[in-house]
Amino acid sequence: MLSKLMGHSEEIAALILFGIGFTNLLLNRNMMKKIIGFSMMDSAIYLFLASYGYIDGRVAPIIEDASAPLEVSAYVNPLPAGLVLTGIVVSVSVTAIMLALTLRLYKRYHTLDIDAIAILAREADPE
């Protein structure tokens, strides 16, 4: 059991992190905490994905000498890293939007508490 857990240590850490981030995004009432939770959730998925590209004893997929004969089994799988690179930029864009929304909501309602914002928004504008 323990060896199995150790063998999956990266995934387990990633999935716990996913759980924490998900919970923060769903249930934390503070908008800033929600945003941080979202960032954590996304980086957890990237950790999960990239850990599968890794293969023990291989090096990063950057060819140093183009003239040397190519040894395919010397490099880790490059595709997950490419996907994660795409994902990281997506998550920073979304974070920026959520922060801007938070700023606007705070300017209008003077609170970061999403429940309070809900009450205020409904009272000020019933439709």
Binding site: F22, L25, Y52, L83, V94, I117
Partner: protein
């Protein structure tokens, strides 16, 4: 490769290219761009549909020299082309029909950006329709999520900001679950292309290995897309976002964005998992329960609602339940019925949001039902259009909604006797509820008004023509239901 086979790529690429240009234009030219590009998309996808029907098959379009599975790939067939045509046409008509409200409700400095969002939304929609690669689907889901959120929050109103916030939070949760789902799929199969994942999953299943992770990935993708398309228990963000946005945005969100997610889900069911795996993981049964709940409770919510736009929003919850019901049957006939209902509902809901807003506009901006009395006389064309949309959703014969409900019921009858009985009862009850709230509304708008109303708004003739076009399309869908269904059925067969 023939020239017309470049059309799917051009349909995605042109709006993307022009969005950057639109950002640099003055607002009124940007608005024209937001009308022109969806119109061009409509023509392009119509040509694609015709050519696909003539060629009688589907084709793959590799992006780059190597194509799949090394690079990305697009896939187009009759079903995809029909969906693309519907989406582009509705996008164009929504912008045109809500033109006056966009100008009135969105400040000039934001209007140009609003048009950029419309174009990027179109690119995202087309990419969802045509993509054959799950990670590309994720990237374009994010574009669509953000663009749709921006369409809601473009209106400078506290309620719209709040609606957009809830929308974004729930949609980000959905994207996260979806991404984790495809990450698990990738870890299991090492592929990102839909067919290749399917092949690997089939061989894994016959070997009997990794049964639990496969179920997990199916569940994650299902829940993720269900949250994003507002299936019943995950629909809480929907009324706030739909009711507070400008009517064009509400129309686009309800009839395009959620439908694109549903089409993506259908592609997952048919092309990634296959109907066999979909049934085996019991996700089908779960979806069946959710869709029943959605159909009933969404309708009840709509009956209890006292304001027109929120009522239309809640009716969307019920209708999305119908579509998921078709998918959850797990048969080709069911999926075809679901696609037909997607199209019928998308047309009717966009029309309802736009004409409903005009009726409200003709009643001094009050959306309570007692204030709407006589709105049908004050805005006769909008009243007539609203009536057509409402009748289509209730399922009056000759209209699109009737045919789709008929096909759906027929597909339900193929289930085991007990299930079929439950399904038919649910459909009957919900049709009765639909009739209660929609026909009451129609009657209300033709009642004698209680008081005098102020000056009513006039609308540019072209945008009134958009309403008429919607109504005609709904009628046409009802009349040519049989050929349309044939096209869809052929498309579904080709999807598998």
């Amino acid at each position: 490769m023939k020239f017309w086979q470049n059309l799917p790529f051009l349909l995605i690429w042109t709006p993307m290219l022009l969005s950057g240009v639109t950002a640099a234009l003055k607002p009124r030219w940007a608005l024209r761009m937001a009308l022109f590009v969806p119109l061009a998309g409509t023509l392009g996808s119509a040509a694609l549909l015709l050519e696909c029907l003539r060629a009688g098959g589907s084709f793959l379009y590799p992006l780059g020299e190597f194509g799949a599975p090394m690079g990305n790939e697009l896939r187009a067939g009759p079903a995809e082309a029909l969906l693309a045509l519907t989406f582009c046409a509705i996008l164009f008509l929504s912008v045109l029909g809500g033109y006056q409200r966009i100008v009135a409700q969105i400040e000039e400095r934001r209007r140009g950006l609003y048009c950029v969002m419309v174009l990027l939304l179109q690119a995202g929609l087309m990419a969802q329709v045509f993509t054959n690669d799950v990670f590309t689907a994720y990237v374009f889901i994010e574009i669509m999520t953000i663009a749709a959120g921006a369409l809601v929050l473009a209106r400078n109103r506290g309620r719209a900001l709040f609606g957009a916030t809830r929308y974004m939070i729930m949609n980000l949760l959905g994207s996260g679950l979806f991404l984790l789902g495809i990450a698990v799929l990738y870890c299991l199969t090492g592929e990102l292309l839909m067919e290749d994942i399917h092949d690997k999953l089939v061989s894994l299943r016959t070997a009997g290995s990794y049964a639990r992770p496969i179920t997990l990935s199916v569940a994650l993708v299902t829940v993720g897309l269900a949250v994003k398309s507002a299936l019943y228990p995950f629909h809480t963000w929907l009324p706030d976002a739909y009711a507070s946005a400008t009517p064009s945005s509400s129309a686009m969100l309800s009839s395009l964005v959620s439908k694109a997610y549903i089409f993506l889900y259908i592609k997952f069911v048919l092309r990634v998992w296959g109907l066999g795996l979909f049934r085996e993981t019991h996700m089908q049964a779960v979806l069946l329960v959710f869709s029943f709940l959605g159909i009933l409770l969404g309708s009840i919510d709509a009956v209890l609602e006292k304001r027109l736009r929120r009522m239309i929003a809640y009716s969307s919850v019920a209708q999305i339940g119908y579509i998921y019901l078709g998918v959850a049957l797990g048969t080709r006939v069911g999926v075809a019925a679901a696609l037909f209902h997607t199209i019928a509902h998308a047309l009717a809901k966009a029309l309802l949001f736009i004409s409903g807003d005009r009726l409200i506009g003709a009643s001094d901006g009050e959306s309570g039902f007692h204030e709407l009395r006589g709105a049908g006389y004050r805005a006769p064309l909008s009243g007539a259009a609203f009536t057509v949309g409402a009748c289509s959703i209730v399922g009056i014969p000759l209209l699109g909604g009737f045919a789709s409900k008929l096909y759906l019921t027929r597909a339900c009858l193929a289930m085991s006797a007990a299930n079929a009985a439950v399904a038919v009862i649910v459909l009957a009850v919900s049709t009765a509820l639909n009739a209660t709230y929609f026909l009451t509304t129609v009657i209300t708008i033709y009642q004698k008004p209680e008081r005098e109303y102020g000056a009513r708004l006039s609308h540019p003739p072209l945008s009134t023509a958009a309403l008429a076009a919607f109504a005609l399309l709904i009628l046409a869908l009802g009349v040519i239901a049989r050929p349309a269904m044939d096209v869809i059925a052929r498309g579904v067969d080709l999807l598998i």
